[in-house]
């Protein structure tokens, strides 16, 4: 079995570790590129959302590279993601590819796909091997998330000194290549020491704090959000996000053990959006409120065009923005979005936040 799966930020690192740990050959799709966009928009339905198209592009490129098994997530609605795979399978079959689709459908979706997928994926491995593969993937996921968080907090101070970029890039590489848990932990601690050291060496400067919210794929995948986090770091902005791979796993796969995610979401969102609206809609509202309460300088919502849960969220964000005097930038992206335009808007937004902050600081001083 030559297994492939769609990209989403750093997701390929832990997923690859998992499948290899289970004894499969893994074909990681080429990093999402211009061609992926073209393939995706050519073969996907015109009004499907951007993640659908990019996933499809990833699949085509991976199948071309010799994959024969596609592993894809499922869902029970109302978000469209739950039905992606059904439509993508048809499209890929029409294009003449020979492959099997393994669908990780949550229990309750009314299909037997999950047990079938697990059986096929785990059949060659002993229980001990399965456990260690899962553990390895989980450790990698956690470390990648933590590493990113640290990097986003320190980089805006250290840049334009490029060593920090280098250190982070090496960290990602090492996490990808290393498959022993104790070594991984060591890699992470070396990374933190190095970054913190760098930070100590630079003069402190004022930076802005921004929270990134929105649809998980668009938030996590730098190739579709035009390197949003990197751009912010360069512009001297601390970028925070609550959405992460490990957070998703904790909330959606092991919600029983990690009830605090759901609690946080409902609690914070309640005054503005009391109902679940699918996808990350309620989360978006909750985190905007959090940003307001904690006096962030601004919030950036990233969503694919026609994303239903985010559109519901978007309708209530202006009210939160008013209540907390919190600037919000909406980035609605599709395959036609132009990098230059997005970056100009981003810079203008950063300027706006900086002006507001200066005014606020000045007022505080006078008082």
């Amino acid at each position: 079995m030559r297994v492939t799966f769609p990209h989403m930020g750093q997701l390929s690192i832990p997923v690859k570790a998992l499948f290899e740990g289970l004894g499969h050959e893994v074909v990681v799709p080429p990093v999402t590129n211009k061609f992926t966009f073209e393939l995706g928009s050519k073969y996907a339905p015109e009004f499907a959302c951007l993640p659908f198209k990019i996933n499809l592009g990833n699949f085509i490129e991976a199948l071309e590279a010799g994959a024969d098994t596609v592993v894809m997530g499922g869902g029970v609605g109302p978000c469209r993601f739950g039905y992606y795979a059904q439509v993508q399978r048809e499209i890929l079959q029409d294009l003449g590819y020979n492959f099997q689709l393994l669908l990780l459908d949550p229990p309750g979706a009314g299909t037997k796909e999950l047990s079938k997928a697990i059986k096929l994926l785990a059949e060659a491995a002993s229980p001990g091997r399965i456990l260690s593969a899962l553990r390895l993937a989980w450790v990698k996921t956690r470390l990648l998330d933590e590493g990113n968080r640290l990097y986003r907090m320190q980089a805006p101070y250290i840049l334009p000194d490029n060593t920090v970029r280098q250190i982070y890039g090496d960290f990602l590489d090492q996490i990808d290549r290393e498959n022993r848990v104790n070594r991984l932990l060591k890699i992470y601690s070396t990374f933190t020491v190095k970054i913190n050291q760098l930070r100590k060496e630079v003069k402190p400067k004022p930076v802005l704090r921004v929270k990134i919210i929105g649809e998980i794929y668009m938030v996590l995948e730098p190739k579709v959000n035009f390197d949003l986090e990197d751009r912010l770091s360069e512009l001297g902005v601390e970028a925070h996000r609550q959405i992460s791979m490990s957070g998703w796993v904790e909330e959606h796969l092991f919600g029983v053990f990690f009830p605090h995610h759901a609690k946080r979401r409902k609690c914070l969102a309640k005054p503005y959006l009391s109902a679940f609206v699918g996808g990350h809609g309620q989360e978006t509202v909750a985190e905007t409120v959090d940003a307001g309460v904690n006096k962030y300088d601004g919030v950036i919502q990233v969503l694919p065009f026609t994303c239903m849960p985010e559109i519901v969220a978007q309708s209530v964000l202006p009210e939160i923005s008013r209540d907390f005097a919190l600037p919000i930038l909406y980035l609605v992206l599709d395959e036609h979005s132009a990098e230059a335009g997005i970056h100009t808007r981003l810079e203008a937004f950063v300027d706006l936040m900086a002006r507001k902050k200066r005014a606020r600081d000045l007022r505080a001083k006078i008082m």
Binding site: P45, G77, P78, F276, G281, T306, P309, V312, A313, S315
Partner: protein
Amino acid sequence: MRIGLPRALLYYWFGPAWKAFLQEIRLMPVVSRMTTKEILKQGVRVGVDEACLPVKVYLGHCLNLMSECDLLLVPRIVNLRKKEFICPKFMGLPEMVKAAVTNEYGPEGKERVLVWKSEHRSFWDAPPALPDYLRKLAGPGKIKTGLHRAKQVFREYRALLHQGYLPDEAEEILAGKNVHRREQGAAGLGVIGHPYCLYDHFLNMSLLTLLQRREYNYAVFTPELFSEEELSAEVADLAKPIFWTLGRRMLGAVRALRKKHVAGIIHLAAFACGPEALIGELIRRECQSYGLPLLQINLDEHSGEAGLLTRIEAFLDLINTHAHRREGIGCG
């Protein structure tokens, strides 16, 4: 007290029953008039840019009603059936409406929105789902009879739609008026789409009645002509059940229509509709595999009558030649 009911979205599904309920508890329902250009314009102005056309229309109706009623009744419909959904926008509709009216009328506007939450069946069977305000106002006894009455009307209304009456005709019949059955032609034509696209005469420029008129003279079939059981049975064999009720009904309808040997199918989709982007693709494939002519139209803010009509006419021409060719082959 006058309670506003926007004639948009699932009003076409539930409307008369909501109305009956309000009347039964001695309140005055005020239903907005048919969509107009003005209403649409208002909705476009206050809605989020990215929202789909039907939601914008709904917001337009809400704003239009605000000056004519004291309170606005907005449903929060989670689903119509267990394990299914309609669309996230129905779950967050009250918030979208509140945001829009706050924009226009300030914070007091928001206070005038009543939310009636429904999960499968709970509209008529679960008094706690009703807005607190109405429950206190009417008292448990009246609420009970009201819901009972609503349930009854709902059944009658759905039965009328099932017989082929359009929603506005069915409403007139329920109000005791006489409605002539329109004569239907011999050749069948399927028209599918979400109810608020099919039955909003403004959005689709009265396509349904147009197709039935003399010059075309088709017997028009919509998903509402089939029973729920029929439609679900048609799609029971899908590898994964479709979890959007309206989408599932549409695909089921395509399969049922094929058995009725319709000459072709017109699919009226809403611009920027999420579920239809995927369902539309499934429908396209389905029709292709049957060799059934299909026209997919995206209704948007700017679809002008002329453009729509030319496309329909071209499609009907195509169907005719298609039919002749088939006959030709049959004779040979």
